[in-house]
Amino acid sequence: MTMTPEVPTRLVGVDVGGTFTDVMAIVDGEVVASKVPTDLYATETSVLKGAEEVGVSQASVFNLASTAGLNSIITRSLPKIAFLTTYGHRDMLERGRLWRPFEALTNPNWRRGISDGSRPLVPRYLRRNIRERMHANGDVLVPLDAEQARAELELLAECDVQGVAICLLHSYANPSHEIQLRELVHDVLGDVVCSISSEVSPLAQEYPRASTTTVDLLMKLKYTDYTARLEKGLADLGFTGEFNYADCSAQLMPAEYAMDKPHRLVVGGPAAGTVATAHFGTFIKETDLLAADVGGTSCDISVVLNGEPWVNSYFELEWDLVITALSTEIVTLGAGGGSIVAIGRSGELMVGPDSAGATPGPVCYSKGGTAPTLTDAALAIGILMPDRFLGGKVPLDVDLAVDSFERLDSSLVTSERIRQAWLIGLHNIAEGILDLAVRRGIDVRDFSLVACGAAGPMMLPGVLDNLPLKSVIVPPNPGGFSALGLLSADRVYSESKTLYGLIDERNVASISELLERMERELLDRAGVEARNVRVVRTFDARLQGQGWETPFISLPSGSLSAASVAPMVEAFHTEYKRRTGNKFDQFPVEGVTYRVQVIVPSDKVAYHPLESRGGGAVPVAARRALAHLYPDGADANCYERDALRRDDEIVGPAIIWEAMSTTFVPLGRKALVGEYGEIRIS
């Protein structure tokens, strides 16, 4: 499949996973992929090795989605840091939001993972109270007690902390105490790394601000050296281009800028598939898409609405560990090729969420696995070819696969076990997609589902029997489609800040001043002219008296005036109705958070149109009998994807082979090859 950058250059994207580091490059119009085992103790060595394999020395852009920070938090391989806050609030990192997960509501022994009784990010003795208090309007209620603060810092000096996170109450309204305290930190502790909440996340609500600031400090300590090692390694390999990190919404940011607020990098990979889908959507002229990336263990589902990924204003790394950063919403289901088929307590067939993973893997891999999986079912049905899996690298054993189903303790005949397991797996995915759609108020009849990941094109067309989707679209190179997202994004500089106040003529000048100041600072930071970039402004607001906000309401550009108030209020009510189905336009609207994004267009992957066949039949590579799935049996035509041309039409059941993936067109469905080689099944 030919793809080229929009300008003649070489692009490299690297996605660091827990098992493998995926490296994608566009070289002379062809996708070059490399997979390197991830060295969990020094992930930069895997990144550099992969980069070398695809010839990074000739690349102009190197984009990296790193999970190094996330892994260090999950495993708590963290440096010793201190946390300073307003007197009496040091336990807010222990309390979190005081919410409990549903399954823990009646469990008195439940502890949140970040609590002192579990695995705290900062142990209690390193969380110190500072005597000061700021009013919510920014007035000083209790002046900072420098003497008391100094005594606390001298204590921390004895504890050898490597960094200090500072989150004082209402510092988003007046950061002076935090700035003063940071100076004291440097006075007493010397050149330790320090994160202050009024710079990291100047937003209301002290707990999310505190947890974000703490994670930011940890990421600074993790990524500063990591980035330096990577930059040196890349320079040694001869790379002289742009080095970008992907943030939690897979937008790119230059490494140097990313180090200002590295909490934004903590989950850099999963959103790439959504960005790839949105970018591919611009070619096939589809703006409303669902993206589903089905791998071995899980299925990641996300939404692209009006051409943009559905983004949230915060996310959780684990229960109550909240990070306030823009992040693509992704729902992960335990349904993948490796999902295990088991028998429940009542004798029912169950699929997932347990997975056979890569080791031992499905039974048919012959690596010692004994529990049947969906991959085994696909092989037994005949969708997968024993000698063509992953380009023929992994031979599959059909007899072992069927035998594993026979050994299940079920009253069903073997054929029915295989069929039902396959259908339950598809049903699980359909249910997950419907859940997401209902929660987000979208009608799946208006959406096509983009099937990516190694198992996506094999499983997702079958979901059409459960969900009235417009179609299922299999993009070019579906196995590596997500990693291509790192070569499909723009560079983005963003800022957000809280400013409470009704949206009215009295406050509009201060809102305008805040937005213009943020925009100016971001343009300065990006070092670009305003005419060369796209500036996106949004705000979060609520009906007066509400305790929660409706996010991402669009704002007009330029200076705001009294005439801007009515459109802003109307935009809020429209978005509120879209999200909730209700409109309360008799209530005043209160603005809470204002956001500015400066988007600098970057080189991206471009997909090139396929030529049409100009008559003649689509060449059939083989014909294959399908077992178990259809009561009367069926024969499927098999096709090589490389041999398909635009406007080719394939009637199901059919199987389409390519190196890293297999597409299955179910009986009664039709596949049409589109302009850019996409296979549209409906």
Binding site: S115, D116, G117, R124, L126, H135, D139, L141, V142, E158
Partner: protein
Amino acid sequence: MTAEVEPEWQPEKIGVDGDCPNCGDAALARYPVVAVGGWMEVVKCQRCLISVSRKPWHRSGFITLPEFEMEER
């Protein structure tokens, strides 16, 4: 607008003989603290904050009720 801060109440810290096993300073003190496991009587170094010992204290801390005293008897 500024507010007066009243001096906060602090539990009495009783000096303990001996040196800190971590920093070597003779700054050990015994006092009650409340943490996730409930009220504890701790011996901590006042210089480096290392806990030398922790044992459960009265279950309601400084609040005493007659029935608690009876239980303890």
